[in-house]
């Protein structure tokens, strides 16, 4: 579904992505892990066309993304920091995005209802807490039932209840054959929803593997234990394509 080949991006002298080659399939939830500055956000932004890489290509369903922007309407993107024009209300933000995607007429309102945003839809974005803004971002990503979801730190600011709700929604959509790309620092949050792990360090893919296989080979059950074990033993498993 998404094929990334030899992707390289430098900011000045800093190599944010260094010859990254990855292939993502439908019906999987892929966790992008790695320390700060390892290139997770750059990778996501490259897929969204927000960062323009020097080398390499990204192909989504057979189309090179640089040739056409319309592929983005099939991606639901939830940014890490949700900042919106201060005086817009929740309703205005949602209406605006709906107007931008006129071709879509069926909306997935499950999260809007689940988070109870309808009750506070006339509040301005300025008056909302970070967590509530995060909820708005999540709703926008799911609104058009896209094929690909890209979620940047989705659960970072959410309360446990909302976080559970979002994870439940992710599980449900994945079962429909959607692809999820998720970055997160809170590993325990991803434990039960991830199917594959991509571990980035200094812009390179250290490993890309199925969670079950990683668990088997390390003998650990918790995601953060798995990662810790791999890092300690420097046990690098070749990426499986």
């Amino acid at each position: 579904m998404i094929s990334i080949t030899h992707l390289t991006k430098t900011f000045g002298k800093f190599k944010a992505l260094d010859d990254v080659t990855l292939h993502f399939e439908r019906g999987t939830t892929i966790s992008l892990l790695g320390p700060n500055g390892s290139g997770k956000t750059t990778l996501i932004k490259s897929i969204l066309g927000l960062v323009i890489p020097e080398k390499g290509s990204i192909i989504i369903d057979g189309d090179e993304i640089r040739s056409n922007v319309s592929y983005r309407s099939r991606i639901g993107y939830m940014p890490q920091i949700g900042r919106y024009p201060e005086n817009m209300t929740i309703k205005q933000v949602i209406d605006m995005i709906k107007e931008m995607r006129k071709e879509c007429t069926v909306y997935d309102n499950e999260l809007i209802n689940g988070f109870g945003l309808t009750a506070i839809q006339h509040k301005t974005m300025r008056s909302l807490s970070g967590g509530t803004r995060q909820k708005v971002s999540a709703c926008l990503a799911f609104l058009f039932s896209p094929d690909i979801y890209i979620l940047d730190e989705p659960t970072a600011g959410l309360d446990p209840l909302s976080s559970e709700l979002l994870k439940e929604k992710i599980r449900k959509e994945r079962a429909k054959g959607k692809l999820f790309l998720i970055t997160s620092h809170v590993l325990s949050d991803l434990d039960d929803i991830t199917s594959h792990i991509v571990y980035l360090q200094d812009g390179k893919v250290m490993f890309y593997n199925e969670v079950d296989e990683l668990k088997r080979s390390t003998g650990e059950n918790k995601l953060n234990k798995v990662i810790a074990t791999i890092m300690q033993e420097d046990l690098l498993i070749d990426a499986t394509y």
């Binding site: 900011f11 932004k45 969204l48 066309g49 927000l50 960062v51 323009i52 922007v69 319309s70 592929y71 983005r72 309407s73 991606i75 993107y77 940014p79 920091i81 949700g82 900042r83 919106y84 024009p85 201060e86 005086n87 817009m88 205005q92 605006m96 995005i97 107007e99 931008m100 995607r101 006129k102 301005t124 971002s137 926008l140």
Partner: protein
């Protein structure tokens, strides 16, 4: 597609900006100043001159500062919209149109309305044109600053320096130029130099309509002498249009290849 996306974004930016406190205060202060200046001075062209000075002082600095800050604060929002398959050119032009129209409407309500009601004359209309042009120009420069600088603090610094350069420093440099080359025929080079300052262009545009042009400094007199009112006005308007279009075109060009 390009057109409808643009209209939608501009509409929502305006909805946001009409509730923006800075815009409201800006309109209010301009209105208070305009009404007091126009009703106080008995001589209508004197009142207009004061209003011109207020315009030249406030419009450039407020426009460039407000727009720069607003653009930088919209960064994440711009990213979100680009991820909805909005084209980059559409996005950046929509941001510009939204902010520029909000500031222009503020100026029209604050200065335009009082001067049309209290002191209607061709010179008043020219003043309104000049103020709107300055708004468009300095918002376009703000857009260029936003596209060039990655960091908000540096961007705001650049905006302040640019505004001060055009409102204060440029005239000082011009004076020292006139002073050091006073032995030579420098009238024509001087005309050329003035075209590089939009604030001076805005001043000249209004002065050409007033009888006091000769009294109001060297540049006004020069323009009147060399080109007369009509050609002088056309030339000034042409230069001001370029001052809008060139920063805008440069911003679009650079933004298309920018890493966000």
């Amino acid at each position: 597609m390009l057109h409808t996306d643009m209209k939608t974004i501009v509409k929502y930016i305006l909805l946001d900006l009409f509730k923006n406190k800075t815009i409201l205060v800006y309109t209010f202060i301009l209105a208070v100043l305009a009404v007091s200046v126009l009703s106080m001075s008995g001589n209508s062209s004197k009142g207009l001159l004061s209003l011109l000075n207020i315009t030249l002082l406030f419009v450039p600095i407020i426009s460039i500062l407000f727009a720069t800050i607003y653009f930088f604060n919209s960064m994440e929002f711009i990213e979100l919209l680009l991820a909805q398959s909005v084209r980059r050119k559409t996005m950046i032009l929509a941001e510009y149109c939204g902010v520029a129209s909000a500031l222009s409407i503020a100026y029209l309500l604050g200065v335009g309305l009082p001067s049309v009601l209290l002191n209607y004359s061709p010179a008043s209309i020219t003043l309104i044109f000049s103020g709107i042009f300055l708004t468009l120009i300095f918002t376009a420069i703000a857009l260029l600053i936003f596209v060039v600088f990655k960091d908000k603090t540096k961007g705001i610094g650049a905006a302040i320096i640019t505004a001060l350069f055009f409102t204060l420093l440029f005239d000082g440099l011009l004076l020292s130029f006139i002073y050091s080359f006073s032995e030579y025929p420098i009238d024509k080079p001087l005309l050329g130099l003035i075209s590089f300052n939009p604030v001076d262009l805005g001043r000249i545009l209004v002065l050409l309509q007033l009888d006091v042009a000769v009294m109001m400094g060297y540049s006004g007199a020069l323009f009147k002498e060399f080109m007369g009112s009509v050609i002088g006005s056309v030339y000034t308007l042409g230069c001001m249009s370029l001052w809008v279009l060139i920063p805008l075109a440069a911003s679009v060009r650079k933004f298309k290849r920018k890493d966000l």
